[in-house]
């Protein structure tokens, strides 16, 4: 759930490698992959858990900080170690760094 300054360097190195070999970044870098289907479904791979869950917002922990999904009637339709799926009427998606 936290990024240290020491990790920053290795992250850049990884990014360079990913760029050089043309690899998808989510497989090398420790970043979440989010797929949003219209405004009805969001799936987050590589998440770190739920920070806060209400009917109108879900805050998800990711390695770089947190993601807040806002909307109406939000339902977590599935949650496993690797994947989280949220359904409902999604209105906004905020990516917030750790410091916020």
């Amino acid at each position: 759930m936290n990024i240290t300054n020491g990790k920053f360097r290795s992250d850049r190195a990884k990014q360079e490698i990913a760029d050089f070999f043309g690899l998808p970044r989510d497989s090398i870098l420790d970043v979440p992959k989010m797929v949003i289907v219209g405004n009805v479904e969001l799936s987050v791979e590589n998440h770190l858990g739920i920070i806060k869950y209400t009917a109108n917002s879900v805050t998800i922990a990711i390695p770089q900080g947190k993601v807040t999904v806002r909307g109406k009637d939000l339902v977590i339709s599935g949650i496993t170690r690797t994947l989280m799926e949220i359904r409902g009427r999604i209105e906004s998606l905020d990516l917030l760094p750790e410091s916020d």
């Binding site: 858990g49 209400t54 939000l74 339902v75 977590i76 339709s77 949650i79 170690r81």
Partner: protein, 402 residues
């Protein structure tokens, strides 16, 4: 219903209400310890509804305690709960048990006997025989021995070629296959002459002789006749009963066979010299072009004509408008070879004897052989071979009487 929901119904799951201040902590710990949660829905500020598999409930209970949350089962869904519910109804269990026992008991009896493949034999006869063997509707299946039943049927009905007995479920299926016997049609046999001959000797085993010794007969003439007459002792009963008497006997006759052929002492030969000339015609609609000689350039030649054209689509007989004709003239030389008379005669004699041997029946005895070489009026040498044999000239001829 998706596959996933079918699976979850099979495994059984519950919908629980989780109430507490740190519901999120419960969710995080649950998925971290491999408990699958789905369809989480926030109801109010304190509680969340979630689906959870029945097998995960004990572990989820522990997590509830550590996170200070309370859980309450709202609904139970799936097969395990259905079974639990049904298990409480003793009448139902008894019925299910009775059903399976009944099914098992009833399926161990023969309920159907099917017989197929009957054509001339009536299936009912076979069915009757099978029943006599103690196999009928209601017989326990174990008492039916297909092999011995098949053998029994085969022994009882001699006109059957094959019997197959199979037990499929509660059906005993008997397949039979009948022998196909040759049709016996009343027949009358006469003996006729196989060649033009002089009858030398006639021995009649049965039938009535139509010729005498010393007669000349032509090919196809009746020698011994078969007859139809009432059997012995029934002569006065009229035509009710008939007996066919086939002609049998030996008729020895003298047969003369001749082979005649002319000697061909001159052999005409035509050989190609290897000289070839070509003429090419090219037709383009009404126009015609020619390359090469117009007339054949040799006195004696072999002509080979090849036509190349665009095939006409409408009709094959119509010549195509654009075509190429190539005529090849191959020069030949004619020559005459005079052959050795002795050699030709030897060849002809061999040929004559082979021809004769093919014509003569087995057992024919050669009485006389005569060879002649004459100079005919046509200016040719003619060779004639005559062989006289004595042989059985009787040949069977069948006549159908029905």
């Amino acid at each position: 219903m998706t596959l996933r929901s079918l699976w979850s119904h099979f495994k059984g799951y519950v919908i629980i209400r989780i109430t507490g201040k740190a519901v999120e902590d419960f969710i995080n710990q649950a998925y971290a310890s491999e408990i699958e949660l789905w369809n989480l829905a926030r109801i109010d500020g304190k509680s969340v509804l979630t689906c959870i598999y029945l097998q995960d409930l004990p572990r989820a209970g522990k997590i509830l305690k550590t996170t200070n949350c309370k859980g309450r089962v709202e609904r139970r869904v799936g097969l395990p709960f259905l079974i639990m519910k049904l298990a409480k109804r003793k009448g139902f269990i008894f019925g299910a048990l009775l059903f399976s026992v009944g099914l098992y008991v009833l399926s161990s009896f023969v309920w159907f006997i099917s017989i197929s493949g009957c054509d001339k034999i009536s299936c009912n006869d076979i069915a009757k025989f099978v029943e006599e063997q103690g196999i009928k509707v209601g017989t326990p299946r174990g008492r039916v021995d297909p092999a011995s039943l098949g053998k029994g049927i085969l022994a009882e009905f001699p006109s059957l070629a094959w019997v197959g007995v199979n037990i499929k479920g509660t059906t005993v299926s008997i397949e039979v296959s009948e022998k196909t016997l040759p049709e016996t049609e009343p027949e009358l046999t006469h003996l006729i002459a196989s060649e033009d001959a002089l009858v030398v000797n006639i021995i009649v085993f049965s039938g009535e002789p139509a010729v005498n010794e010393g007669d000349t007969v032509t090919r196809g003439q009746t020698l011994i006749e078969g007859s139809v007459c009432p059997p012995l002792g029934y002569e006065k009963d009229g035509e009710e009963k008939k007996e066919f008497i086939s002609a049998k006997g030996v008729v020895m006759g003298r047969v003369w066979r001749t082979y005649r052929d002319s000697l061909n002492l001159i052999r005409r030969l035509e050989t190609e010299t290897g000289e070839i000339k070509r003429t090419v015609y090219f037709f383009l609609g009404p126009y015609e072009f020619r390359i090469g000689p117009k007339e054949p350039p040799f006195k004696t030649y072999v002509e080979k004509r090849s036509v190349y054209g665009i095939p006409s689509l409408e009709d094959n007989n119509v010549k195509s408008a654009v075509r190429l004709t190539v005529i090849e003239y191959k020069k030949t030389e004619r020559s005459i070879e005079i052959l050795d008379r002795k050699e030709i005669l030897g060849d002809l004699r061999k040929k004559a004897y082979i021809y004769m041997k093919a014509k003569m029946p087995r057992g024919a005895k050669i009485l006389d052989e005569r060879e002649d070489l004459e100079y005919s009026a046509g200016g040719e040498w003619v060779y004639t071979l005559t062989i006289e044999t004595i042989e059985d000239i009787a040949q069977e001829m069948r006549e159908h009487r029905s």
